[in-house]
Amino acid sequence: MHAHITRFGPLLFIVLAAVLPLAFASGYQLFQLTLVVAYALSVLGLNLVTGYNGQVSLGHGAFYAVGAYVTAIMMDRWDVPYWATLPVSAVVCAVFGFLLGMPALRLGGVYLALTTFALAVAVPQLLKYKLIDGWTGGVQGITIIKPDAPYDLPLTSDQWVYLFSLAVGVLMFALASNLVHGRIGRAMVAIRDQPIAAEAMGIDIARFKTLTFATSAMFTGIGGSLAAIAVQFVSPDSFTVALSVTFFVGMVIGGAASIWGAVFGALFIEFVPNIADHLSKAAPGAIYGVILIAFMFLAPGGIASLLRRWFARLAVK
């Protein structure tokens, strides 16, 4: 039973995720699901560096912003097709992450958290900086045009953007899954849990830490690119500190050091604020807080770990 779930579960999930929304979801719901994919990639990126590798980052909104801006600038200024912006965005964000990973080597725990947090605080203002505002559009941001389905496919633009994002998401999740379940993933976890032992085993800690940071930034940056294509608009105000904290919430709620956790975390950060707003206009923040605490009590290791325990119990029966 358990083996079947692990083998066919993801495949079934992908097929359902592709087919059901096309059949039943409205344009607005497809848009929401596209954002879920974008958030899932971003949370996954954060999960790689924080969940698996133990380097706490509160600044991943910055990579998300860079990814979104790379896509927006390329589409708007240079008329590059949307799909072609993703590899560029991945490279730019990876380089950016690598550079940030260097000082991160010297900082650990709360100090690294604070440093990355500073990055998140700085980004909205840096985006308005005059030397680059010819590209970034300054405060007013950039509006981009939503791509239509190619080859005269009988799909609406929303359906196409969702399918495209889902395909990118599945590919990236498969990559991440391979990464963490292999030699590199074991090294990442070893560095998190027992850095001294890991070094004694011959793991090059500095190299792994910086490369993890770069990979993490790349995942989050691609998430940002997909979001920009769906939202059709980027501006400095889209990428405030709150966004970085939101990703962190998504990672913890979904389940740190879990690939599937990123999906649950993304669903949480996309839909729970709407529920909170629905329950109370006076204090949606307070309702959100209560739901957050409730989740921490009911699923202390994140939603992914809760489900894992349920499945394990099913398998035993």
């Binding site: 409205s26 344009g27 607005y28 719901q29 848009f31 929401q32 954002l35 203002q125 840096l126 308005k128 900086y129 005059k130 505002d133 300054g138 405060v139 007013q140 941001g141 509006t143 979001a227 939202v231 059709q232 608009f233 501006s235 400095p236 105000d237 889209s238 405030t240 709150a242 966004l243 604020p273 909170a276 707003d277 206009k281 006076a282 949606p284 923040g285 959100y288």
Partner: protein, 400 residues
Amino acid sequence: MKRRTVLTGLGGIAASAMVRPAAAATVGVTKTEIKIGNTIPYSGNASSYGVIGKADAAYFQMINDQGGINGRKINFITLDDGYAPAKTVEQVRRLVEQDEVALLFNSLGTANNTAIHKYMNTKKVPQLFVSTGADKWGDPKGFPWTMGWQPSYRTEAQIYAKAILENYAGKKCALIYQNDDFGKDYLGGLQDALGKDFEKHFTKLITYEATDPTVDSQVVALKDSGAEVMVSAAIPKFSAQIIRKAYDIGWKPVHYMSNVSASVGATINPAGPEKAVGVITSAYQKDPTDPEWANDPGMNEWRAFMKKYIPDGDLADGGYSFGFGVSMTMVQVLKQCGDDLSRENIMKQAANIKRLDVPVLLPGVYVSTTPDNFHPIRQMQLTRWTGKTYERFGKVIDAT
């Protein structure tokens, strides 16, 4: 039997189509209801603006309690966007595609409204009376489905230009502005009002960046230009610096300051209340805390509304009176629509408001639009900082 039912049904549809040709186009409208959507930050950094959404909702509740508009009740759906443009897009798509509102009303924030600007105009859904001061909301040719409400920055600058022409003609003027959309709206407004004489009056133009740490050097340069009149298009932090620096270097120009910086807490106190004496800015709303309006019938109407519908609301918060005024404008448009509540007619009536006096606006300030003019409020009165409060002076100035 079945066939007959179908035929009768078809006949009925045809007949109703003949009687009321617009009926098919009335999205979000039934015989008993008009659905209106809204986004505003109820959470996050800008959640203090949430009071405007509450006031809007309460105002429509009051209208419903009085029987609605032409027998229709307003179903006001207001959603939290946390001031995040991506969330605004999501919520607005929900309102338009899922809830199927007739129109979007009073959505707040410049970036937030920019994010949905194209969408609303492609979908041809009215985006009415948005809460932002940018000038671009009044562009009937480029964006015929969007309209602002409050005086735009550009309108405000036109008013300063008129005041300068009347009182300080022939004096050297200088402008300092933030180098972005916001600041450039002021430059545009001054140029509108002065035309080709702009360069004759304004001999010194200088910019600063929102990311600059200080504007001290710019102020020194302005002083050295020998200007006797200064217009500053700046946000509170920089307005405070400008006031303080000008005072400290002994420069005393006539100072017109953008009214986003009018706040005593954010601008005047940091600059030093005594250093700001004489600074001129502008207003279009009655300040709820101004003793002059303590017994004003218009403000009492608002206070009675507050007492009944938002009893725990802070009566010093101008957001509530703003919401009251903008909602009243919305209701006026719907009344004018009569029974034709198609989106086309809603837009047509919104562009055809004939002098609506709104009790929370200053005497002489009113709402009016035409198909060529999507700037509903175009009058303001100047106010001067006396060291303790602002004092309005002179007559209301019309920008058009």
